[in-house]
């Protein structure tokens, strides 16, 4: 399990919360949403996509995780780093991580170490090879500047259900 020390906590929330209950513990308001894309074709033939709650996810579907960090204190926050596991049964969709003003790094070892996507290696059958998107276990978004009081940052990635 990728986040064992958070388990009891997660369980409580699961029963008490819908998808988007923010955690207000003082300085930051941190919210994670999981959604999926719905594509519809309008009368004029245009394809429209919108994000809908991920209620009917089946194998092969792509879900989108969005974490929003809002500074609700009156002081700036430095060295803000958002870390999210790629949950079990899901595979990261290559190139999908997106976070304005943040550097994006990946882990292939359960979050012990991070590097840029193209710098990661994995061992397979005694051979070392470049990591692929399916190997990523965690994603880390490193904010480049201060998160000013009242400001918010957004980090997003997509993953496909195995």
């Amino acid at each position: 399990m990728k986040i064992p020390h958070l388990y009891g906590f997660a369980f409580l929330l699961f029963f008490s919360a819908a998808n988007a209950i923010s955690q207000e513990q003082g300085h930051l308001n941190v919210t994670t949403l999981v959604q999926m894309e719905e594509v519809s074709v309008g009368d004029d033939g245009d394809r429209q996509t919108r994000l809908i709650p991920a209620d009917t996810v089946v194998p092969g579907d792509v879900v989108i995780y969005t974490t929003t960090v809002e500074n609700i204190s009156d002081e700036g926050a430095d060295n803000v780093v958002v870390t999210s596991p790629v949950p079990e049964h899901l595979s990261y969709v290559g190139g999908s991580a997106f976070a304005p003003g943040m550097a994006i790094e990946f882990s292939v070892d359960g979050g012990a170490s991070y590097a840029a996507a193209d710098a990661l290696m994995v061992d397979e059958d005694g051979q070392t090879r470049a990591a692929s998107a399916e190997d990523f276990t965690h994603i880390r978004f490193v904010m480049q500047g201060e998160l000013a009081a009242g400001a918010q940052g957004i980090a997003r990635f997509s993953a496909r259900l195995d």
């Binding site: 300085h27 941190v30 009917t56 780093v81 999210s84 596991p85 049964h89």
Partner: protein, 340 residues
């Protein structure tokens, strides 16, 4: 008087079960579905982000809420023909085609089976047997006594994710068909929950109260098999020429008879391990070393070449012609005897 129509016999066999099984295994290996069942229906996937930051130099950590998704049921089914083209003759009954039905969804699903033998683009329509669908219960790959009849709505197969079942469809062959004609028949498996366009959702119809969503197959799978008319037909022609010791053509004692036998497959199909047997006629003596196959000399003893004089019983010329098809053309066996 000599009997100039001495018995010749060429025996052919249809391709045996072993070759059919090998073909079936080969096809199974080649046709495994691209997307296997995937994450099991009902699986709950929770995720939580963590944020580390510093306020006025003090490191702090904070978690997000837990986002949660519950995997719903994806309905998919794939039907794959396992039989090679089946060779049939006019008026054959209960000729089987073997298919494998695989649940490629992620839940347990019931499938309904139907046969259709009226398909465009072929030469004749096979006629579904009275009970046209069977489970290949004994895994023989062919219709046999141990197989269980299928009845729509009665014993529809219930398949767990990734599970499969072998199904036979049976057709009779009409009397009017001629060699070389092809007739097709197909097996369809439909999800009992429903079929439709990929993405169509049946609210609350999935396993454990989840929604059921049609995957890329739309909840239906079909494959088509093929019958070809053509019992192997073999033309055999035997002729004899006479040359006596006086240079004439009178069949007198001491004259040499040269028998020429031609063997030819004249339609689709294969005569497997075709063997030519021709007993030496009564009142004659075989001329040692006189057997040829397509002008190539064959020794009289049993060895690595294709023929011999079998003396274990009545002396008989034996030539093994291998797996003969129309493409092999005319095979010519020649041997000589002298009149006693």
């Amino acid at each position: 008087m000599l009997d100039k129509t001495a018995q010749s016999a060429v025996r052919g066999h249809r391709p045996g079960r072993i070759s059919r099984l090998v073909s079936a295994l080969l096809m199974m290996a080649l046709s495994s579905p691209a997307l296997s069942a995937g994450t099991a229906v009902g699986t709950v996937i929770n995720n939580m982000a963590q944020v580390n930051f510093e306020i006025a130099g003090t490191p702090t950590s904070q978690n997000s809420n837990v986002s949660s998704i519950t995997v719903q049921e994806r309905i998919d089914v794939v039907v794959v023909l396992q039989s090679p083209q089946v060779q049939v003759a006019a008026n054959d009954t209960d000729r089987a085609l073997l298919f494998t039905v695989t649940n490629t969804g992620n839940g347990t699903e019931t499938f309904q089976l139907t046969i259709n033998s009226i398909i465009g683009g072929d030469d004749f329509d096979p006629v579904p047997s009275t009970t046209p669908i069977y489970f290949d219960s004994d895994s023989s790959g062919d219709f046999s006594v141990g197989d269980t009849a299928y009845a729509l709505g009665v014993n529809d197969p219930l398949l767990a994710a990734d599970a499969s079942v072998d199904v036979l469809i049976l057709n009779d062959i009409p009397g009017f068909v001629v060699n070389g004609q092809i007739g097709r028949s197909e097996l369809t498996a439909n999800s009992a929950t429903g079929t439709g366009a990929p993405g169509d959702t049946f609210v609350g119809q999935g396993d454990a109260g989840t929604d059921a969503v049609l995957g890329g197959t739309g909840g239906t799978g079909t494959d088509t098999g093929e019958y070809i008319v053509g019992d192997v037909q073999i033309n055999i022609l035997k002729s004899v020429s006479v040359l006596n010791q006086f240079g004439g053509t009178e069949p007198i004692p001491g004259a040499t008879l040269t028998y020429t036998v031609t063997v030819e497959v004249t339609n689709a199909g294969t005569a497997t391990n075709a063997t030519f047997n021709d007993p030496i006629p009564a009142d004659t003596t075989y001329v040692p070393g006189s057997i040829t196959l397509n002008t190539l000399a064959l020794t009289d003893v049993i060895d690595l070449d294709a023929g011999e004089l079998d003396t274990s019983g009545a002396p008989t010329v034996v030539v093994r012609l291998g797996n003969l098809t129309q493409a092999d053309g005319v095979q010519t066996v020649v041997f000589q005897v002298t009149i006693d």
